[in-house]
């Protein structure tokens, strides 16, 4: 079964772009962008488990909060469907107490699968699971670790004349948490296009901020939010668990190099946030400052607001964001998500005031092009294999799995 899920046919292991480290943890980024014909050629049956596995791999490429990769997949060839689950052990209690960022992350994964389907000539019907919002927060004792969030059912679709190669974009996309080049501007027609992508979903709106003074203020707000959370012991410990040393082999979590940290700095922040060694206040403040500089040097900041902060809107926000980030990549723009302003309630309320809206901001991301070419070549984040993220049989005990915190693994 594992061989089938992680089939060698899915990957092109010969390719080795500069930002793609070797090793199993980075296999996902070597995913081939299959043509509809190649996709059909994966198996004799139409929409076999293998074909669904390929689509699920696309879902694995989606960005997730702290690179927790909380999306799990149940492949249902008999129903021509994939059910997407949330692994609540990957919902972070300190930084994401309501599970908002985790469910948005699931929305990104769903978005990837839906966009990949388009490339492969499939239509998708999406059905929201009836999981209550209260069951999407961090896992507590005796609760179910996995909860279903969405079902995607596939149908034969119409072939598009010149489809965007979404899968190629997915495997090239990454968070670029670097200073951007202020001289690049986001043109109005692209901005309008992005706003339509988000605004086409009921209850969602994309605010695009380009005014330099407003970007400066947003940068300060983000720095303030980051300082707030870094100074909370529980948040810092959690960050230490997920901000890893550069040579860490974990398939989840973020390595310091993705933030531009040297090996020594990554080790120091990892250990310092975990409480193993003392950090200086100015060190953590400097880390918070990088988010500020990142925002103020951006071409634009995008903020997704929702009319209702429920599961449906969170998933839709993630899906919309993923399409936006891929469309931006088409135009050579990269993005970086900043959750601090969203999840620190005081900052979120301040942001609502700035935006002149009564809707809740649920995503804030900056848009731009890295100022230094080498920053654009920082390595991708890691990903687990699909076989490690697949729901096989909930009755077999898999639903009471170990804590997925990368720092607590063997």
């Amino acid at each position: 079964m594992t061989d089938l899920l992680d089939s060698e046919l899915f990957f092109d292991c010969e390719q080795s772009p500069g930002d793609l480290p070797g090793g199993d943890a980075f296999l996902a980024w070597r995913l081939r962008s299959l043509t509809p014909v190649e996709f059909r050629g994966l198996s004799v049956d139409w929409l076999s488990r293998k074909q669904l596995a390929y689509l699920a791999w696309c879902g694995l490429l989606a960005p997730t909060s702290h690179n927790t990769v909380p999306q799990w997949f149940e492949l249902l060839p008999e129903m021509k469907a994939i059910r997407v689950w949330l692994d609540r052990s990957r919902v972070l209690p300190a930084s994401d107490p309501s599970g908002r960022q985790a469910t948005i992350s699931i929305g990104c994964a769903v978005g990837n699968i839906a966009l990949a389907s388009l490339c492969l000539g499939l239509d998708v019907d999406v059905e929201l699971a009836n999981t209550p919002l209260s069951l999407t927060g961090p896992l507590s004792n005796s609760e179910r670790r996995h909860v279903p969030l969405m079902m995607l059912r596939f149908r034969e679709g119409t072939k598009l004349a010149n489809p965007i190669d979404w899968i190629d974009l997915m495997r090239r996309r990454k968070m670029v948490r670097a200073e951007y080049d202020q001289s690049f501007q986001l043109n109005n027609s692209l901005a309008e296009q992005l706003q339509k992508v988000v605004g086409g979903r009921k209850g969602l709106q994309l605010h695009i901020i380009t005014d330099p003074s407003a970007l400066i203020a947003l940068g300060k707000l983000q720095e303030l939010a980051d300082n707030t959370v870094i100074n909370r012991v529980s948040f810092a410990r959690e960050l230490g668990d997920w901000l890893l040393e550069n040579d860490d082999q974990s398939t989840i979590g973020m390595r310091g190099r993705e933030f531009g940290l040297s090996d020594d700095a990554a080790r120091r922040f990892h250990r310092g946030f975990k409480g193993e060694i003392p950090l200086f206040p100015d060190e953590t403040a400097a880390l918070a400052k990088t988010g500020n500089i990142g925002i103020r040097t951006s071409s634009a900041v995008g903020i997704v607001t929702v009319a209702q902060d429920d599961l449906e809107h969170r998933l839709a926000a993630g899906w919309a964001f993923e399409e936006v980030s891929l469309r931006l990549l088409c135009e050579q723009f990269v993005v970086s998500v900043h959750a601090g302003t969203i999840e620190v309630e005081a900052s979120n309320l301040a942001l609502k005031g700035h935006l002149r809206t009564r809707n809740r901001p649920v995503m804030l991301f900056r848009i731009g092009k890295p100022r230094r070419q080498e920053d654009g070549l920082r390595p991708h984040s890691s990903r687990p294999r699909l076989s490690a993220q697949t729901i096989f049989d909930l009755q077999s005990g898999a639903d009471r799995g170990p804590d997925s915190n990368p720092a607590k693994r063997e």
Binding site: Q182, S183, N188, A191, E192, H207, I208, I209, T210, D211, P212, S213, A214, I216, A217, L218, K220, L221, N227, G256, F259, G260, L261, S262, D264, A265, A266, R268, F269, P278, F280, P281, D282, E283, T284, A285, A286, L287, I293, R296, A300, A346, S347, L349, A350, K352, G353, H354, L355, R356, T357, R371
Partner: protein, 435 residues
Amino acid sequence: MQLDVANHPFGLAGKGLHPLLLDAKDAHRSGTVSYDVNGTLLLQHPSVGSLQIPPTRQFPCVRATFDDLNKSLSRLANSPRTDEGTTLRENYENEVAHYEGLAAAAYAEGRFEPDYGSYIFDPRQNEIFLVAPELWHKLALLVSNSTLLVNPEWKHGWRELNQRLSTAVVGFAGVSVGGNVLEAWLREARPRQIKLADPDWVELTNFNRCERLSLRHLVGSRGARFDQRNPYEAARISKAAYIAYESLMVDPYMVIHMYDEGLTRGNIDRFLTGDGAKEPKLDVLVEEMDDLELKVIVRESARRHGIDVLMLSDFGHQAHLLWNPFRTCPTSRLGYGATDENLIKALDQAKCGERNKVFDYMAAFAGNDFATDEFKSWIEGKGEHPTASLPQSGSTAMASGAIGGKELALHVLGHPVPKDNRVIYDIMRRTVREG
């Protein structure tokens, strides 16, 4: 299509603070300023619409200006001579006679003010001031400095020296300690124009060291909130805007070229060299930014354009003064403590998140002896650390400003830069060291 939501308070921080300067004669004749019988002033201007200002918010300053000058300007033989050969005192007498004639006529006709001087409308306070014409207002601001500042050869007279000071164009990049240097420069020179750049907003923690900060500049009013009950909405005020406002409320005739987005890679050259039209080239740049990379980039650009750079650094109890005399020495290096090559290497290493590399860069920039005493202990992590930012002593920051302002004036008047371009004023040890 409007991308940004209109009227973001955070997009407008500090904008709207700029006082409005109106020539009194023009204002009366155009109807921009008029009075009703009770003395309520009606201001009609595109920037404010139509606004009634009661007498309690009107401040006629002309009489006081002439009274104060009367006390200061000597009638004796050493009163400075004008181009026409008259003394400053004689000119003053003539001007006062002219003003008093106009004032008497206006009073006799039942008007509130003659066609004389300039109105200054303060949009922050909704107050209006009537001040003397530029020559006399600026004279009153400068006259107490007397002839304490001269050129090295003692060749020039008071008028010529003031001319040199007032026409010098100094740009300030970073207006925390830079604002203190600005304040001292304004007090010495009363320049016709300056340039200011700072992207940050005012914080209460800046109040220990920045000139003229008060609660007026901490936040915007409740009226700026979208939801007036939302306690988290705090419109903040741009540092560049606050300091421009405070400076203009002293000298409203000064022209300020504002860069409230701060210096960026995209605007550095314009800041240094002007726009070829109304915005002039700098004579001196005062660089007080905390962006490690911009400090290098702006110096590289200043060197290319032959513009001198002055930096005052408040390191603990020491004020470090450092010149880059690029005008006279276009090959001089960017930092004090290292060659350009090593400085840029140190900069690259400082970006990787390692704390000690930041201090290595500071040493390459300011010299290996930049940290002493308690400041050095702070860097070494000894003792308690109540703040996450670099510690700054309020009085050292103020002293740095005063030293910088004087240094600018001396420089403009032709005094040489110090030995090896650097001076360390150690306030704790009460010593000064050149080089």
